[in-house]
Amino acid sequence: MDLFGSFALTLAFICAVYAFIGGVFAIRTRHPLLVKSTRQAGIATCILIFAGTFSLEYLFFSDDFSSAYVVAHSNRDLSAFYKVAALWSGQEGSLLFWSFLLAIYVFSVLMTYRHKNGELMPYVGVVLAGVQIFFLTLNNFVASPFKSLGVAGVGGAMHFVARADGNGLNPLLQYPEMVIHPPNLYAGYTGFTIPFAFALGALLARYPGEKWIHLTRKWTMIAWGFQTAGVLLGAHWAYAVLGWGGYWAWDPVENASLLPWLTATAFLHSVMMQEKRGMMKVWNVWLVFITFLLCITGTFLTRSGIVASVHAFAQSSIGNWFLGFIGVILLVCFVAYFKNRDYLKSENQLDSIVSRESSFLFNNLILLVSCIAVLSGTLFPVFSEWLSSSRISVGAPFFNKVNVPIGLLLLFLTGVGPLLAWRKTSAESLRRNFAWPLGIGLIGGVLAFAFGFRQFYSLICLTLCVFVAATISMEFYRGAKVIRARSGASFLASGVDLTMRNTRRYGGYIVHMGMVLIFVGLAGVAFNKDVQKDMQPGQTMQIGQYTLRLQSVDSKPEKNYTAERMNVEVLRDNKQLMMLYPERRKFNTTEQSGTMVAIYSTLKEDLYVVYAGISPETEVPVIHAYLNPLVKFIWFGGAVVVLGTLVALLPNRKSVLVLSAVHQTVPHAIPGQPLAQPFRPTPAMREGRD
């Protein structure tokens, strides 16, 4: 089967090369048969990559321990669930998985637009094939997952051997989140290839601006949704598995996943200015280019070992390949831009600093500054060592100090943006729109202060959260009120109707609401507490309002590991609340150990208990308990963000009810004749807010 997989990937490489070279000729000659055959070569490339990937999974499921990759990342006792995840647990497999996800996107794009956008698609196909060639080069010639275990026999001939069992999967990866976190994150990374291909293709083809933007919007949102889910699942994995009480350590690999998310978020906002007003064309094209470049840079950081990280793969020469690829992409982007920059001329200009457009502009600026702060902080130790030969660490305190104010500014703009009108906002409108949300926000701040939120950033964060939530709620309330007045439906039904009529706008607001919830969760960090204690069975420790009593420590053999488990009784006000079972797992094959945190989670706080091991000094079990307020808001907010993204992807429902009402009140305009009754727009319509 490894031969089959290897053969499929080689064929895929050949097809991709043909799709690329044939595509270039098809663009030049515009020969319909050549265009068709290169598109089909692109589709064949994807199918062959699927075949290669499934053959590697087959090797895992059939426990084929003649394959070096299977030996390194699986064993017989590994459950089927984790055998799926074993595919991306090593460098070679994860690169194949990257190709696989990219192939899904490419296949979908080529099939969706096979009879549409004939002028643009050959360019898009060439760009996609170019990216696929790079990854297939790695899959075939640099990091092939289809290497067999071989030993040199007499006379130098190779004999293939098979091991009785494999080394097993890395214990840190044997958690449910690890089965869904990497696919989400990779689907985000690879998904940004599609807007990149469309942007570069449209620039090369000088294709009308709004059209490519319109075509790629959904693909960008899909990739963004996956990236968001991936980042949050990664944070949840770190929280539940690594056992240090936090969810974001600003590790270089975590940062690498955040970088394209920041620029893609900026793009999703600024793209509206191009769609609505034909502005920011150059900016948008470069945002897409930079997002894709940051995806590759993130992979480079993970693969090259240039920065130390708990996530990083071993240092290898593969980083040079990525560096070369980044160089090629940059060169292509610069050349394409300089040759066609006149095509990216803005159609309109900004009329006022107090407008929806300028709020998007500032939102973009802040997201980009955040991106620069994270990127420079991540790479600074490397540059510092090159320039001054001294090693510097850039840890979480630096990133928090720099990014917290930036994040709060962004949160403020999230609330301000929807209150501003396109083109220009009058002073009266500002007063009218800001009065309530600002008042509610301030009341929220005072209440937070009264309830003990005295830490400066936490207090500001909560005040802003209330302000933004009020803004969003008012947008829903106003819209639903109008629909309710016309249709007579309930308020909830009117709200749903409103959302379904403009899914993009109201889906976006749901995403913003999710972000507000995430920020509420982040505000809780200022009140984290932790206690560590060596404990004999029967002893107790106190954290917040909870008393923890260690009842016993027992050992439980499982199929793939042995769990050493603490039985911890949790008491509140001297009454038993529940039992928690934090454990340490020792994996049979690797002899490595892992933590399994026990969490009692409420909306108010998480009681997070870690069995930290046996103290070498006292030789008694060590328990480390944390009290983390508001953490649940982060996970709940993440789910709301994903829900909002899904809503925004839905097509708009036709507004039948409103149209019939409008027909009754506003007469049709007859060309050449004035309207019988003057049309009186609502204040919101006058301000250009829908």
Binding site: V310, Q349, L365, V369, I392, V394, P671
Partner: protein, 171 residues
């Protein structure tokens, strides 16, 4: 009589003194723990050593038995108990492990680039946005009136304007 009263009060006095001393000791201990946590937050565990290169914040290192964190935390606690200043304690670690032991770059020399880059970018960006907007506005004011301006608005022009307004104001 007096001696009896003194004798009677003596155990209470002792108890009060012990309790006060206990309270003071507990407060000092809590202050020491807080101080140790604060200083520990500025240091990284296991920098550049093969034993535990976890690079976690020293007081967050969750590797029990980690030879770095145990030793480093002991040094930290001793420093705090001796009443050493934060600078002295931190310098002690820097002398042993180098500047890489610090969880954030020192605010001096080349490291200032890391600290000032985000703020400078933000400031420059804001200036740029204001500059671009003011230039656009000036250009819009000085631009000549469109041909046909002032003439009667045809239905086609009105329809075009309405379509544009609709496109630009939705969302």
């Amino acid at each position: 009589m007096t001696s009896v009263r003194v004798r009677k009060r003596f155990p209470w006095t002792i108890l009060c003194v012990v309790l006060t001393l206990g309270l003071v000791a507990a407060t000092l201990r809590a202050q020491q723990t807080d101080k140790a946590k604060e200083i520990g937050g500025k240091l990284l565990c296991g920098v550049g050593t093969p034993m535990c290169d976890c690079k976690q914040i020293l007081t967050q290192c969750n590797h029990v038995g980690c030879r770095n964190s145990s030793g480093m935390l002991k040094t930290l606690d001793e420093g705090v108990a001796n009443g050493d200043s934060e600078t002295t304690i931190v310098q002690r670690f820097v002398a042993e492990f180098g500047t890489a032991v610090l969880s954030e770059p020192p605010k001096s020399g080349l490291n200032l680039v890391a600290w000032y880059l985000p703020g400078t970018t933000l400031f420059a960006g804001v200036l740029l946005v204001f500059f671009v907007i003011s230039r656009w506005r000036k250009r819009a004011v000085s631009a000549p009136a469109a041909p046909g301006a002032g003439a009667e608005i045809s239905p086609e022009m009105l329809a075009r304007a309405r379509a544009r307004a609709s496109r630009e104001t939705q969302d």
